[in-house]
């Protein structure tokens, strides 16, 4: 990888590109992740969501490894936790290499034409060059669009003095933590040697170092080797003894006026030095230096991505409350640690060790383990074969007895047994089975004859399930209605097992059937009851929400009325501004669609009774509820924070009932915070994977929390802490979730408030 010379402002920041090993690993990982994100985006398209646009602007040309890392990490951070489609556009300005003013003018003209009528929500400035350019030309290209910067030092930021809608976290370029690290790892060091060159940037560093010296954690003798010719410098460094540590920030030019690619300069210095050398940039890790406290592009990209996402979520640039600088990492070269006898446990927590050379056992651990495993497996296998031969002889004898016993027992409990020979399509059935299905005692049965006994509405699904079982070879369990010749309807549960004959072809299906009419009618009664309760609770909830609904509808109606009245007035003018009127009509149509969408959402929530199970994307269900609650939460001054995990498997459930549970939890949570200061009313909704194949939704508040004594009675009917509450919400919610084979639980937060957690099993035909 050749090193391109960049303009001076960027040398500092793009100097550390060249850690090829780490970079290539990270890139391939990021690519895999990006691929997954892309794939899930295709698999679960989100309709009617506006595409948000982020424009990435880099001052350099393409294909810089650092840019790749920044870009990929930024994108994945933007996409995380939001289902909103985000489009990324990228510009590489290359202004560093084409520095004459005409290039910049033409480039700006080009970009203005390019983005005319193409709205961009957020601009990202990748580096100080891009930031400098955007501060000069943003108003011409994309007026008023907020800018997020990255890879900019506090000093550069101070010099550029960006306006308040240009935000970002500057990278930490303070040398002090690196110096402190060096003095800590070399406890016996009494001399600190600071090496600097003579380029503008070297001098800037020298100044920064001189300011840092008084802040050193312990007194040492400080020696500045500033502005020496390389040979003299190397001679001095060779003569250093064991009580010295060296720090070199950059080395672009020496005292004799010779220019260096900074990394090469530092390499020569590190090779000459008898004492350990520390640096502030991780590009230098691997050329014979010990390490230092440095930023990584992964972290920088992610940090910028998080800011972009918050802006897209509607936060204002002025109220982001960003940290003053980006936290760095301690990065060290393992080989150098060994060279200077530094113990790994003396490193700061979270240090990153590079170039670790593993021991023989560590390198070949898996080979050794695998060899042993194979030997062990062989021994076990041989023993098992011997045992198995004896057992089989016993089993054949026992099987004959057991068959006889089972048939007796089956008749006694009302279980019907049957066997279906698929190739001949012939079903053998016990007398009990024929009674269950209302079939005569002796007539032959085939699959279609069996289907004819079923309720017409159950035939299709039964055939489909059986076909599926035959294809997959899996066991199946079905419940269907059987219509007897006298018209009586019975519920029957059947369980079958597919047995392969050979080559994987199903040969026979054996199974049992059982009359479950009594159990089923009890279940249906419970479900009817629950649906009725749920409907009542919804009606109650709709009363609570009516204010919010009015607001939600009033917004588009206001826009429509004002637009229409504006159009009326324009029509009265002479001559009427037809272009403007056309625009107005377009807006009216759009707002009308928005109103229709509000009504559609409400109707699906409040106007249906029947329970419908279908595969659901829990994130989609959650988003719908959040949209519905948007105004209500606004009125209550509640700040809603959503963190939705992407790529969750679907669950099987009733959309309306699950939304009702979420609505209930969100209303409860916001009511619990009614007495908080407006700033303390934060409600967090999280989705994610729970253990054991479950998908979870959590609703966390900062309210009064839950009294530990009341924890158990919370879900009982008529329990309430609210003066006007009925105490039915949580009881119904829990019964709904349990009807979905899920769990609704509550826990106290570590800080204030409580978290309610809905956990639902992953749907069986989930695509993932």
């Amino acid at each position: 990888m050749g090193k391109a010379e960049l303009n001076p402002g960027c040398q500092t920041t793009f100097e550390w590109l060249l850690r090829s090993k780490r970079i290539s690993l990270t890139v391939s990982f990021v690519l895999v992740v990006a691929g997954l994100v892309l794939f899930s985006g295709v698999a679960l398209p989100v309709a009617a969501e506006p595409v948000r646009t982020v424009l990435m602007v880099y001052g350099e040309s393409r294909l810089h490894p650092a840019i790749t890392i920044l870009d990929e990490n930024l994108r994945s951070a933007v996409q995380e936790g939001t289902g909103q489609p985000v489009e990324f556009l990228t510009e590489f300005l290359d202004v560093g290499r084409f520095s004459d003013g005409r290039y910049e003018t033409r480039l700006t003209e080009f970009l203005r034409a390019k983005y005319l009528g193409r709205p961009v929500d957020v601009i990202v400035a990748g580096g100080p060059t891009a930031l400098k350019y955007l501060l000069r030309h943003r108003e011409e290209i994309l007026r008023g669009t907020p800018v997020v910067h990255m890879v900019v030092t506090p000093a550069q930021l101070k010099a550029l003095a960006p306006p308040p809608d240009v935000v970002g976290v500057p990278i930490d370029s303070d040398p002090l933590p690196t110096l402190a690290l060096a003095l800590r790892l070399h406890a016996t060091a009494r001399r600190l040697v600071l090496v600097t060159g003579t380029s503008a940037w070297d001098l800037e560093w020298e100044k920064q170092l001189r300011e840092a010296v008084p802040r050193l954690p312990r007194p040492v003798e400080v020696e500045f080797l500033a502005g020496l010719p390389m040979e003299k410098l190397q001679a001095r460094l060779r003569s250093l003894t064991g009580d010295a540590v060296v720090f070199v920030p950059t080395f672009f030019r020496d005292g004799a006026g010779r220019s260096f690619v900074s990394r090469d300069g530092v390499t020569q210095i590190a090779q000459a030095s008898a004492a350990p050398v520390y640096v502030p940039y991780n590009t230098y890790v691997g050329i014979g230096i010990v390490g230092g406290y440095m930023p990584t592009f992964e972290a920088i990209g992610r940090q910028a991505g998080v800011i972009v996402r918050r802006l897209l979520d509607g936060e204002l640039p002025t109220t982001l409350h960003l940290p003053p600088v980006q936290r760095n990492d301690y990065i060290l070269d393992w080989r150098q640690l060994r060279r200077f006898g530094i113990a790994e446990d003396s490193l700061p927590a979270g240090s990153i060790l590079e170039f670790r050379q593993p021991s023989f056992w560590k390198t070949y651990r898996w080979h050794i383990a695998a060899t042993f495993a194979v030997i062990l497996l062989q021994a076990v296998f041989i023993a098992a074969l011997l045992v198995e031969r004896r057992l089989r002889r016993q089993a054949i004898a026992e099987l004959r007895d057991s068959e006889k016993r089972m048939s007796l027992a089956a008749d006694a409990t009302g279980v019907g047994i049957w066997l279906w020979d698929i190739a001949r399509d012939d079903i053998w059935a016990t007398a009990q089975t024929r009674t269950l299905y209302g079939m005569p005692e002796s007539a032959p049965i085939d699959f279609n004859r069996f289907l004819d006994t079923l309720h017409p509405l159950d035939r299709g699904s039964t055939k489909k399930s059986v076909d599926e079982a035959l294809t997959t070879g899996n066991d199946f369990e079905l419940q269907y209605r059987v219509v007897h010749p006298d018209g009586e309807i019975r519920w029957v549960s059947a369980r079958g097992q597919v047995e392969s004959r050979n080559f994987g072809q199903p040969g026979t299906v054996v199974g049992v059937s059982l009359d479950i009419t009594a159990r089923k009618s009890a279940e249906l009664a419970v479900e009817r009851h629950r649906n009725e309760l749920a409907r009542m609770a919804r009606v109650g909830l709709s009363g609570q929400l009516s204010g919010a609904i009015a607001h939600e509808l009033n917004q588009p109606l206001t826009a429509i009325l004002s637009n229409a009245q504006a159009a009326q007035r324009l029509m009265g003018q002479e001559p009427p501004d037809l272009e403007e009127i056309r625009e107005i009509f377009k807006d009216i149509v759009e707002e009308d669609q928005r109103a229709v969408e509000v009504i559609r959402r409400l109707r699906t929530l409040f106007n249906r009774g029947e329970l419908q199970r279908q595969p659901l994307d829990l994130n989609e269900v959650t988003r719908e509820v959040m949209r519905l609650m948007h105004s209500e939460l606004l009125t209550r001054n509640v700040n809603l924070v959503a963190s939705l995990a992407e790529g969750l498997p679907t669950v099987l459930g009733d959309r309306v009932q699950l939304q009702q549970v979420l609505l209930n939890l969100i209303v409860n949570a916001s009511e619990s915070m009614a007495e908080n200061e407006p700033l303390g009313r934060r409600l967090t909704v999280r989705t994610g994977l729970g253990g054991e194949g479950a998908v979870t939704v959590e609703v966390a508040d900062l309210g009064k929390g839950v009294d530990p004594d009341a924890m158990d009675s919370l879900f009982e009917p008529f329990f309430t802490t609210k003066p006007q509450g009925m105490g039915m919400g949580l009881a119904i919610s829990r019964s709904i979730i349990e009807a979905h084979d899920g769990r609704l639980s509550v826990s106290k937060n570590e800080g204030a408030g409580a978290t309610f957690r809905v956990s639902l099993p992953v749907g069986e035909d989930s695509g993932l």
Binding site: L316, T318, T319, A550, H551, N554, T558, A559, L561
Partner: protein
């Protein structure tokens, strides 16, 4: 005296509503500036600029009522016409108590809206004139010498020259001269006008 034309400052977080209202007001020849939130408005608002606020009640961040409070604390008396999406009675009471000109429900009819805005802009203009008048009179009062100020204070309390002379320990003739100067500097043609001017400036108690 501000030369700027009165402007309706729209603050509403809903872009479609903001756009439609802006459009409607412009067709009626209002000068309009629209903001997406209270913070954005506060960042750019210049108190010297006359006009009124057309303010949405429910907004993320600083809401309409909070903005009203903030302006009151800053002594910026820009008249406010509130718009609300829901008939929220407690909010409307608070808004009107806080000095709002009107509290209109969305969707709002243009006639009602224009009436309220006309009233608000009129109130603002009157208040600005009044403030300018006060400043003028305060300037006149500032031009008085300490002795003349002393005489003015006694005169507006309705005391005759003789009593003032005794209380201040100077000749009645001198009082007459001071009094003449006060009338002249305050540009008052009668005692009644002098009293009215000082009251108008709100300075009777501080004299």
């Amino acid at each position: 005296m501000s030369a700027a034309e009165p402007t309706v400052f729209i603050v509403d977080d809903d872009p479609a509503v903001r756009k439609a209202l802006t459009r409607l007001l412009r067709t009626a020849d209002y000068r309009v500036e629209a903001f997406e939130g209270a913070e954005a408005f506060l960042n750019l608002y210049n108190p010297q600029h006359p006009g009124c606020l057309l303010l949405d009640v429910a907004m993320p961040g600083l809401d309409g009522l909070a903005l009203q409070q903030r302006l009151r604390e800053a002594d910026a008396c820009l008249p406010i016409v509130f718009l609300t999406g829901q008939g929220d009675i407690p909010a409307s009471v608070r808004a009107m108590k806080g000095g709002a000109v009107d509290f209109l429900s969305k969707p709002v009819d243009d006639a009602a809206l224009f009436t309220a805005l006309r009233e608000a802009i009129g109130l603002d203009a009157a208040a600005r004139l009044a403030r300018e008048g006060q400043v003028l009179i305060q300037r006149r009062i500032a031009s008085l010498t300490p002795r003349e100020l002393e005489v003015l204070r006694q005169v507006v309390q309705g005391k005759p020259n003789k009593q003032i002379a005794t209380e201040l320990g100077i000749a009645e003739k001198t009082i007459k001269i001071h009094r003449g100067r006060v009338m002249e500097k305050m540009q008052a043609r009668s005692l009644a006008e002098l009293v009215r001017l000082t009251e108008y400036a709100g300075l009777v108690s501080t004299l």
